[in-house]
């Protein structure tokens, strides 16, 4: 008998407590799978955010530090100074990275910090119960914009990958989506490249993962994946913004 799928060494054998249909599980697994395949789980230190994935350390089988809300890039900068040869990453949601933590992510990118940031964008605050995120789409309903977000009241949704791609120190920037098997495979490739950039000490690597939140979007899991395709991807195009030659093959 041939094994076609098994539990990855990078994930701890514990019950996954995210909502059914949430793509945090896929994002966790992809990052851990890549680290496992590179055989560097033992030299990796991760930083978890505030938000649903505040509990990422329960599932990821690497040393982990939980950051105050939004400060993960600063925390990772400190870790990387003590352990410059370890793999370091931050895992952050849209409230954490694109709202309260904009200063930290922008300046870590500017310094060309040699760690990776995985930005999970599901266009809503999950843990606090569905409030408007900086990335909530125009017309999208949330508990703090019950009739849908308007440009007049809240401005346009923030495009973080486009913003980060303007920064010299951010040498690798790519947006991927976790809505289909094909896109999940592309996401894994992007994560691999991000860690390659770190391994070669080329600069800051940023991967935005368009994700689902069936609970707070009020949709069944499968419909939520469809909503990513129909609504998120048109506004947040899936593409590679920057990639250094050294890892582009």
């Amino acid at each position: 008998m041939r094994t076609v799928f098994e539990y990855t060494k990078g994930m701890r054998d514990t019950e996954m407590t995210y909502c059914p249909g949430c793509t945090h599980g896929i994002a966790h697994r992809l990052i851990m799978e890549v680290l496992g395949e590179k055989n560097v789980l033992g030299s990796t230190i991760g930083v978890s955010p505030v938000g649903c994935s505040i509990v990422a350390h329960r599932f990821m089988n690497v040393d982990m530090l939980e950051s105050p809300h939004g400060r993960a890039p600063a925390v990772a900068s400190g870790i990387k100074r003590v352990h410059p040869d370890n793999f370091v990453f931050t895992y952050q949601g849209d409230g954490d990275l694109a709202s309260i933590g904009t200063a930290e992510i922008v300046h870590a990118a500017h310094r060309g910090e040699k760690f990776c940031t995985f930005f999970v964008n599901n266009a809503i605050y999950g843990m606090t119960g569905g409030q408007m995120a900086p990335t909530t789409l125009i017309g999208q309903k949330s508990t703090t914009c019950v009739d849908g977000r308007t440009k007049e009241q809240a401005g346009m949704p923030v495009k973080m990958s486009e913003l980060i791609a303007t920064i010299d120190g951010a040498v690798f920037v790519e947006r991927v989506a976790l809505n289909s098997p094909g896109n999940v495979r592309k996401a894994k490739k992007a994560i691999e490249k991000a860690f390659d950039v770190q391994e070669k000490k080329l600069g800051f690597a940023f991967v935005e993962l368009l994700s689902s939140c069936p609970t707070n979007w009020g949709l069944p899991p499968v419909d939520a994946l469809g909503w990513i395709k129909e609504n998120l991807i048109p506004y947040y195009p899936v593409k590679q913004f920057r990639c250094p030659q050294e890892v582009s093959l």
Partner: protein, 358 residues
Amino acid sequence: MKEKKLMKGNEAFALAAIRSGCRFYFGYPITPQNEIPEYMSRELPKIGGSFIQAESELAAINMAYGAAASGGRVFISSSSPGIALMQESISILASVQLPVVILNVMRGGPGIGSIQPAQGDYNQVTRGGGNGDYHVIVYAPNSIQEAMDMIAKAYDVADEYRNPVMIAADGMLGQMMEPVDLPEDKGGIKAGDITKVKPWALTGHKDMRDRIAMNSVWLKQDQLEDYINSYWPKYEKAEQELAEYETRSLQAAEVVFVSFGSTSRITLEAMRLLEREGIKAGLIRPKTLWPFPFHAFDEISAKTKQIISVELSKGQMMQDVKLAVSGRWPVGLISRVGGMLLDPLEIVLKTKEILEVR
């Protein structure tokens, strides 16, 4: 013979941190402590250390959090409003139990306040400042030499208690110059030795142990209560073992001053002047603000008629003095605020007023 050097306070503090093995400094400019990041940016790269000029105090303290969790010896400095910005993460450092030495070169408040010396941070530094049940151990030097010695000690205490330790200096100590004996150079910890010295630190599990996860969030409140209770005995131990103070002339004192930091030097000058006028004054100088040296007050003589808290705040320390005195003597207050300093003559005058009214 020891190396003697004339040094500006802020530079001496930075040098003391480096000689205590600090190799990681993260800072953001704020007056009156700017010589510290300037010194660190020059000196740390020479010895294999790291300096980052952070984008804010919020980022600086969180860089310190990451470096301390990774087993690095970290130094952080700021001044009152900057320390206020850092309080959330100081609470987290205490919760996760990480050793970090924090220097507060205090200035006038509230708000952005003034840039002149003050002690209005007393409550901020002794009562937490952040949320939740924890303490920060606080040393209060009154000379540059003492500050350097306290910084060296703070690193040992921070490691022993696995807790943030603060040095509460002020703009006067930061800006003035005095000759100092340079402390011995303890050298830094090599990255490869971190696991040996700090087995709890994040280094990557190297497939040799389970992964370490450090977190201050507890989604089950009963577990959080158990956790707080598990570390609380160290604060009881600190109260027993860490309180430090100096006394002067308590035996025959009619009036006893309580004063810390640079204000205690001005109080000493006032005591000389009072002596000339036949008023015998003593001094209790807390060298730690938390734990506060409550037992020092048991040394006060029966002849003493009045206790006076002399401080650059509106009686913030006086609250602890009243707790220590427990109604045994009347407690008065001599204070200036906002960055204004006390003058020895002013202390003399106000002391006489308080004694007359009584």
